[in-house]
């Protein structure tokens, strides 16, 4: 192969690689979760790469959304999941992608006090008012869940459970996808339903 040919091949593969990384940006189950870093409610910076070795839960949220209210204020369902997860050493990160002036947009102090009021104990809350992380993960609803295993692979994306209503009476009847996924991970098993339909309010992105 002449130098020219090699150069052409190299250029072509470079171009291809660039195109494919652009496509890969969307999170795919069983593939590496997209890397990000973001500002947290307590002022710290969270970098996904630093969390290798731990299971990470990303939970998109918006405290005023009736579907979030269903799983927090009315039932304590998600706070209970957070407690169980913390006991197993899971890092649970809420993500708020509501743009400034839109429903659910809060500052760090409010995010912390809201959690206190609701008995919620996530590891931290990432503030993403520009929607960068939200769009990176193609997060669509509040709540919308992504679970990343200790190797950094996305193992679950979808809804909190299977019954898509705002009625808390449906929680005991629903298939608890997130709980099921965390239990499977703790037991070293494969997540039984790795991709489900998320449900809830749309995420209030800017523009």
């Amino acid at each position: 192969m002449s130098f020219r040919q090699s150069a052409k091949v190299a250029l072509a593969s470079l171009a291809f690689a660039l195109v494919s990384t652009q496509v890969v940006a969307e999170p795919v189950v069983d593939k590496a979760a997209p890397a990000f870093s973001g500002k947290a409610a307590d002022g710290s910076t969270i970098n996904l790469a630093d969390l290798k070795g731990k299971t990470v839960v990303l939970e998109w949220t918006n405290h005023d959304c009736p579907y979030v209210v269903k799983h927090y204020d009315k039932s304590g369902n998600i706070p209970a999941l957070q407690k169980e997860a913390a006991e197993q050493g899971v890092v649970w990160l809420q993500v708020i992608s509501s743009a400034p002036g839109k429903q659910g947009n809060v500052d760090g102090a409010t995010a912390i006090s809201l959690n206190k009021k609701r008995g919620a104990t996530p590891t931290n809350t990432i503030l993403d008012p520009e929607g960068t992380i939200g769009k990176l993960y193609n997060a669509q609803t509040s709540p919308h869940f992504f679970i990343i295993n200790p190797e950094g692979t996305l193992v679950y994306k979808g809804g909190v459970d299977s019954i898509k209503t705002a009625n808390e009476a449906d929680i005991p009847k629903a298939k608890p996808y997130v709980k099921e996924a965390l239990e499977a991970l703790a037991a070293g098993k494969k997540v039984p339903n790795p991709s489900t339909a998320p449900y809830g309010c749309s995420i209030k992105y800017a523009g």
Binding site: S20, E26, D64, C65, Y67, V69, S195, A197
Partner: protein
Amino acid sequence: MLSGVGKYLRVFRGMAFVWLLSGAAVAHSQQGAQADRAATPQVEAQLVASVNAVVPGSEIYLGVNQKIIPHWHTYWINPGDSGNATTISWTLPEGASASDIIWPAPGRFSMGPITNYAYENSVTLLSKISVPSSIAVGDTFTARALVDWLVCAEECIPQQVELALSLPVVGNANETGEGSPLIAEAQAQVPVASPWEVTAQQSAIDPETAQGKLQLQVALSKDQQAQVQDIWFYPYDWGRIRQSDLQQRKNLTDVIQLEIPTGEAPAVIGDKLTGVLVIKEQQGIVRGYEINVPVQSLTSNQTAEGFAIGFASALLFALLGGVILNLMPCVFPVLSIKALSLVSHSNYSTVEIRRQGYVYTLGVLASFAVLALLLIVLKAGGNQIGWGFQFQSPIFVLLVAYLLFAVGLSLSGVFFIGGSVAGVGSSLTEKPGYSGSFFTGVLATVVATPCTAPFMAAALGYAVAQPPLKLLAIFLSLGLGLALPYLLLSCWPRLQRWLPRPGLWMERAKQLLAFPMYAAAIWLVWVLVQQAGVDAVIIALGGMLLIAIAAWLYDSTRTSTDGKRNLGNASVLALVLLAVGFGGVQVNLPANAAQKSAAADANWEAYSDERLQSLLAEGKPVFLNFTASWCISCLVNERVALSTDAVKKQFQQQGVVYLKGDWTNRDPQITAFLKKFNRSGVPLYVFYPAGQADSPKELPQILTPDLVVAAVSGQ
């Protein structure tokens, strides 16, 4: 200014939240009230009916109408990226039942990267209700609907109302009244069956990116394509496509193609893709078309390399597939008998047997070539067809069922043709000579086709997508495979030695092999019923009875004197013709319904100004339909409304003269008429009630049978 709006929004949000918290209380207070209307700050809901009174044992429509304030929307059955479909829980009198919600075609709403399928302004969700016959005249039929919906603008609010509607029960169908106009309005928005063939193909899902593409092809003619302003596919199931992505439209020869990236729950190849295709025409008419098609695999033939490999392996697969076809329940008996004839004709010379083998192979190949050519011609004609296309014709299915049944009878020993069963395919040959072998080949191909469809769909699906020569090559390869076992057997006498010695067992084996033939015939009758309706059973089985009688008659007169024998043969011919003819006429009826309306006994005449004036002068009621072959909604309206039995009956009862004006070539007489109604194009539907030449009624551009019947009957 901006901050002012923000403040207002915040106050409003606060109010909404307070309302939300008191939501349960609101619902309760309404439970007591039981009105047909209920309102939230965003939605006014009303329960409406297609009638003012019900008749026991009838079917009516109830609808939940939502009037939604600007910028807010409620959701379709598949809400898209977020949101939640409206649900209705019915409480009905004992014995009554309600259908699932019949959803009008949705719209799409995007906010940033999120797209929803939803309704704005006003929507009526219909349910078909069966009124029990046990309900007494004079009683009241009360329906209660507990309706849950999510209404969203920027934010979302789940709401619940209870609505109730009481209708008097009357004994006479003429006293039911016309009900709410909202029902007819909603019916016009409910998707109708697609009048065009639609196919769906999906590429393999890339394991790295989890992405693939779905291709929908809708067979719209070039003229019709020009009328399509917007075309969008809304799947019933979440995740089949990426809701937010553009659906890329391409106008191909007589096909509009939509290319859509697959979503997080793509369709499985072979499964059905269901949803609604919404088409907006240039003049603004919007209509939904029901899609329910199996998803085929989209073979990528982009690169030359992939193509070559694909072609070579397709040839090989076709050959192997052909060999396997020999074992299919419908083919095996025919070929076993052919093989057995080798055993019994062991007195034939090797050369003779070899020639028989060649001729048989030729018969198979010729039949496959004919099929391939037919496919090529049909494809060139713009038809979207696949292998087994011939089985889309009920008459073909019926004839093959008859053929298999006849072969079965012959194997059972009811009759023999020319002393050789293998001669059945060549029913005309008296002696089992070369033509006998040739037609056995043809017969093998004919009986093999019903088996190929399910087993070889993929390989043949590939073949059909190829240019003519390659298609032909693949088909011939398949034929060669089918012919191969017998060909080998006839060419190598050594193999023949492995065949068992002739004896009584041959007769038994023959009889046993009749049963797979009967089974295949039964299967085909089932296929026929899917195509032509339940009545086809009596036609098919009746025809088989005639064939059985004919077979018996043929066999019992076979050895009689010439006169009796001729009489017998004549009766046999008559019976078989009767079976085929009767079956053909009856079974083909539904398939040809559309053509029939255009035939001499059609219920319409061509429009002309003179004809209209003379009819109006006579005081006759006249229905005018101005249409054009490129007009999509015209075509659809004729299918779903004007050519339905209900409308035809109504026209007949009222003595309505139905005039159709064809504006395909912009007839100036019709252009002038359209102008009178301030229209620049078709469709235009006008009804002149009897004796009212001065007060024509104009009908909407989207018709339903009920709407036409109501207009014509003067309700």
